[in-house]
Every structure is written in C-alpha cells, then in structure tokens.
C-alpha cells in the first residue's frame, strides 16, 4: 500500500464536517498570516513578525483531535497554533497590532500571545522555552489522571536547545502524556538544519532518548493527523511521550522582510510550490469527498473575516497607559 492510498483511505474515514473543519483551520491560518505579512511590511504592526505560511497542515493536523482542555505551547511563530487551538481571531489581530482589547491586552504581541482558556499556553520568544513547560502541563495530567495531553511545538533550531533535550529525557523518565511536534522547516533563522543538527535526524535523536519518534511529511494534513492520533492514543493511555518530526517548507524568511540571500530564487520558488492547502484540496477532491466549489466558498468567507478583523485592529485604539502597572504585583 503506497502512501497516497493510505492517505486517501485515511481521509475517507473523516466525515464531511471534519474535513471542512480541518480545511477551515488551514485557510484561516493562511489568510491570517498573509494579512499580517502585508500589514507588517507596511509598517502597521509593531515589533517582530514571524508567520506560519507553509506549515498550516502541522498546526491544523496536530490540533485537530485535541480537546479544548488539552494543552499546547508554542514558539515565536505561533499564529498558526493559536488559530488551530481555537483562539479568537479578532482578539489575536488586536493583540498583534498592539491594540486595546487584544487577547493579552496588548502586553504580549505576536511573540507572547496566549489564551489559557483555550488551552493555548503561549507563544514563546525564547527558543526552547516551551518544551519544559509542556512536560509540566503533561505531568499535571498524569498526576490528576485526566487523560488529557500537552503538545509542545518546536522548530528544528529549538531542537538543539538544552532545555528541549532535558524536556525530552524528563518526559521519558516521568512517562508523561507529552507530544513534541518538531517543525523542521529547514532553517533556524538563517542557519540550515542540515548544519545545526549533528544527528542523522531530529526524530532519530529523539528516539534515542527512549521514546517513539518518527519523521513525517508535515505538508500532508492526513499524515500529520494520523501520526498525532497514534501519539495521542499512546499519551492518553499511559504510554508516555512521543516525538514527531515534521518536514515542511518555510515560505518566507525567518522574519517578515528577511532578504534571505542564503536561499536562491529557485529554492524559494520550489519551497512555495509545496502547498499544504493545495495538497489537502487535491486529495479530498480526487477522493470525491468535497468539491472545489465548497473550498472556494470557504476561502472567500475566511479571507473576508480576516480582512474585517484586521481593519478593526487597524482602527482600534492603543491601550491606555494606565494599564501599564496592572496584571502584576508592584514592589518598590
């Protein structure tokens, strides 16, 4: 049985509603980050901006079977994870623009966006910040025997950080229901993972820590979901942690505006030619599960919703400076 047959049969096990939900997540991420890219490039968004374009199938596939009270923790490139975990689009947009009413009151911004009510424990501007935290969220579930899980997203670059290694070993030793989703987009900033990862593969290195680990195609929603379902089953039944390395293209530079002199135009074009949304649509249409029409309608509706949220964020006021000393105890 070759991979594409497997995928197709896997896709066919999903209901129409499930397929629609998956696609909506992916297109929402796409539309959202395209808009962020535009406004950031136009100088309308403060700070630093990292978008999730090209990796949509990972967030969507990895979060598809998580419950609202399962946990995820994210990276500096976290918009996709937020959306896939159900964070409010408008609240996110306001936050990233630094406006009042943002999901973190404008105090977080893109690199520190979170919504604990949705089980989203935060973007993290420290590379390797999230994996140890996820071990703790998972430990909580183990202690309280909730059957819930916690998922850490981390990049290929983050996979070399000592905190990530420690988290992997600790997760194995304590046998907690944690899943490490390593998004290998080939680069950590401007350094190729072929250089920075000394190991044969990130998955092989994780496996040597003593947990099941595999390397999969992060462009294929169905492959992501299938691998995650195995990991979730394991985690929920006391089988301990799993690492899944997902290969995925990085459409843009590290940050919005990165000139990327280290990638040739041909390489960039090749990267952009690999499209998780196209892949999804083709599979689903060719399996006769949904038609192109349906997708077009969703696309239209989603882009409109994202545009509306962005326009609202553009016009919203900045937080009142009186908020400065709120949300923390003050000691002088």
């Amino acid at each position: 049985m070759n991979i594409s047959t497997l995928d197709k049969s896997f896709a066919m096990q999903m209901s129409r509603d499930e397929l629609l939900r998956a696609y909506r997540t992916m297109i929402e991420i796409r539309a959202f980050d395209e808009r962020i890219e535009k406004d950031f490039a136009a100088g309308k968004i403060p700070g630093f901006g990292h978008v999730y374009l090209g990796a949509e199938a990972i967030a969507a596939g990895a979060c598809h079977d998580l419950a609202a009270d399962d946990y995820i923790a994210s990276t500096h490139r976290g918009h996709g994870h937020c959306i896939a975990k159900g964070c409010d689009l408008e609240g996110m947009m306001l936050e990233i623009f630094g406006k009042a009413g943002g999901i973190c009151g404008g105090k977080g911004g893109s690199m520190h966006i979170a919504d604990f009510d949705k089980g989203m424990l935060g973007a993290n501007a420290i590379v390797g910040g999230s994996p140890p935290i996820v071990v703790g969220a998972a430990l909580n579930q183990k202690i309280r025997k909730t059957g819930k899980v916690a998922v850490a997203f981390a990049g290929d670059g983050a996979s070399n950080q000592g905190t990530t290694f420690e988290a992997m070993n600790m997760a194995v030793v304590l046998q907690v229901p944690a899943i490490f989703v390593i998004e290998n987009n080939g680069f950590g900033e401007h350094t190729a993972s072929s250089y920075s990862v000394g190991a044969e593969s990130i998955a092989a290195r994780a496996a040597a820590f003593g947990m099941p680990a595999e390397q999969i195609d992060g462009v294929d929603f169905f492959a992501v979901r299938e691998s995650m379902l195995k990991a979730l089953e394991r985690a929920r039944t006391g089988g301990g942690p799993t690492t899944i390395e997902m290969k995925v293209p990085r459409y843009l530079g590290h940050y919005i505006g990165d000139p990327q002199a280290y990638r040739t135009p041909a390489e960039l074009k090749a990267a952009r030619a690999i499209d998780p949304l196209v892949t999804f649509r083709e599979k689903v249409v060719s399996a006769g599960l949904l038609d192109a029409e349906t997708f077009a309608v969703i696309d239209l509706e989603t882009y409109a919703r994202v545009e509306a949220a962005a326009e609202k964020a553009l016009e919203a006021p900045y937080p009142d400076p009186s908020a400065l000393e709120r949300d923390v105890y003050i000691s002088y």
Partner: protein, 338 residues
C-alpha cells in the same frame, strides 16, 4: 506548640499544605531519593528535609527527577499555569544559572505578558548562603538576583516560626515565589505552632525595638544583628533591628518609619555589594527618607569577590558580628560638620 528546627518547620509547612490541597506537589532532585532502587524515600533531599514524604504522599506527588534544572523549573511552571501548586526544589540556589530563563522570562512574566489571564502559583525552594565552606559555586545567596525581577516574590525567613508561616503563604500565593532557606539556619530551634498559619508578604518584623540606629538584616544575618544590638544595649546604644522577611515585596514603610525615628541606617547583606539589597534599601531611603537621615547609610556586605573556600577566607568574607558592630558604632557616632 513544640520546639522545632527551621528545617522541621519548613517540612511541616509542606506536609500540612500537601494534606490540605491535593494540587500541591514536590519536584526536584533526590527529594525522595533512591529512585531506581528498591529503597525509595530513603533520603528525603540532600538535607533530609522531605524525608518521609514519599511514604505519605506517593511518588506522584514527591517527584524525583534527572539532573535537569531547566526541565524541573519548566515542568513546575507548566503544572502551575494549568492549575496545580508545585513546590520545586533547587538543591542549591547556585544552580539557578542553568534554569534562570524558566524563572525570570517565563514564570515571572506569564501573568503580565498574557494580560492578566495566566497565573503561576509556583514556589521554588532553595538553600542559600555561606558558612559551610562550600566554595564559590555552592555558597551564594543570590536574593538580589531574584528581587531584581518584576513578577517574582522573594522570601528569606530568618527563624523557624517565620519559615513555616511564610512558606504556607508562599504555597497559597498566586504568584511565583522564591523561597530562600539559609543553610546555617536549618538547625535553629524555636517554638512553632503545630497548626497551619500564614505570614503575609511585605510585612517586616521589628525584631528589636530601638531609638538610636536602624539595623536592617535578612535571613542568617538577623541573629548576628540581634547579637550586635544586645552587645550595644549594654553600652546604652539602642539599636532597632528590622527583618523585612521578604525582599519583594519589601516593607519599605517599616524601614522609613524606623529611620524617621533614628535618623541612622545600617544594612547588613550577605551578598557582594553591587546592586545588592544593601544598595536597594539605601537607594530607597536616600530618595524617600532623605530628610530623616542624620548620618551616612552604612552597608555591611561581602566583598566584591566570589565565595572563597578556605575557612580563614570565608570567615573574613561573610558579614561578621564585629563588622556589623563597627558599622553601627560608626553610624551612631556620626555628627554632621556644623
């Protein structure tokens, strides 16, 4: 009420809170001990403080870990922001260098940077301080390091009674708390009630009342300050000893109120001098209590060096009763040029 050591008082606080609240758990290296052998719980931490805990609370709530401090503190953070109340142990405060990010960039900032939606009720316990000839990498206090960071609360009990009440408060508190236990105090005995009680943060203890000089000291320096006060009392110099108990929040009101009466301030701080609690308090008083001051503020600190190993050097390193006494005398004797 029975006599208990500082170590026993801390253990009792942990035990009472673990009994009361199933969300409280312990995590750290060797806190049970014997993991991987047939003799779990045989150690109870390097100072034996948590001995007997795994027997009572089980391995799910007394969690031994690999030597991976970032993962220990990170895991405690993750449990705290998802609803539990972990008490993590750093075996020595000196190990904070391998896990500071999880403290100052994560735990300390969650609530603020997520707009007030997160809460991180984490306690980190850590033994501090010199006097054990433990050398440069096992003798630091580092309380100024933690005090510096917004979002952290920092506790430095100087006696068994305070240790128990402050630790219970720390566990029930919704912010991350750094709870610093001085190694020299573990054996100190005092009357400690058997039941649970809280001592609120940010309320200084007036250990000795006095009118001539205000002497502020923390942790293991408090007994030394009291000894100086006793000595000088015999000569008719009346020294007020203030133990702020928490450095963050700091009860600056108590210090200012005292300096308003005495006009003279000496701060004893077991720490190198730069950006220390001695300078912190001096800075506050030089700004807000300037009009009260009748003499230069004196600081008694360690020198600007690491902790030396040899006893002869370490004795010269730590603020001694003699150096404190000399500073108080100097502050007391000062007269402004007319």
């Amino acid at each position: 009420m029975a006599k208990k050591t500082y170590l026993q008082a801390i253990a009792e606080a942990l035990r009472l809170e673990m009994r009361r609240d199933p969300n409280v758990f312990l995590i750290g290296e060797d806190i049970a001990g014997g993991a991987g052998t047939d003799h779990r719980g045989s150690v109870g931490g390097i100072f034996g403080l948590t001995s007997g805990f795994i027997e009572e609370f089980g391995a799910d709530r007394v969690i031994d870990t690999p030597i991976s401090e970032s993962a220990i503190i990170g895991a405690a953070n993750g449990a705290a922001i998802t609803g539990m109340r972990p008490v993590a142990e750093l075996m020595f405060v000196d190990f904070v260098g391998v896990c500071l990010d999880q403290i100052f960039n994560q735990a300390a900032k969650f609530r603020y940077m997520f707009g007030g939606k997160a809460k991180c009720p984490l306690v980190i316990r850590a033994p501090i301080g010199g006097g054990l000839r433990a050398g440069a990498q096992h003798s630091a206090t580092l309380h100024p390091l933690f005090t510096m960071f917004p979002g952290l609360k920092v506790v430095m009990p100087s006696n068994p009674y305070d240790a128990k009440g402050l630790l219970i408060e720390a566990i029930r508190n919704d912010d991350p708390v750094i709870f610093l236990e001085h190694k020299l105090l573990y054996g100190m005995e005092a009357d400690v009630p058997d039941e649970a009680y809280c001592i609120p943060f940010g309320e200084a203890d007036f250990v000795r009342e006095g009118d001539d000089v205000t002497l502020v000291a923390f942790s293991a320096m408090v007994p030394r300050a009291v000894e100086v006060a006793d000595r000088l009392e015999r000569e008719g110099i009346s020294v007020e000893v203030i133990d702020p108990r928490t450095t963050s929040p700091l009860d600056k009101g108590a210090i200012l109120e005292s300096v308003e009466r005495t006009g003279r301030l000496v701060i004893v701080d077991e720490s190198p001098p730069r950006c220390s609690m001695a300078s912190d308090i001096a800075g506050i008083v030089a700004q807000e209590g300037f009009a009260f001051l009748k003499a230069p503020i004196e600081a008694v600190t360690c020198p600007h060096t690491s902790s030396p190993f040899s006893p002869s050097l370490e004795d010269a390193y730590m603020p001694s009763v003699e150096r404190i006494e000399a500073a108080v005398r100097k502050a007391h004797a000062y007269r402004a040029a007319a």
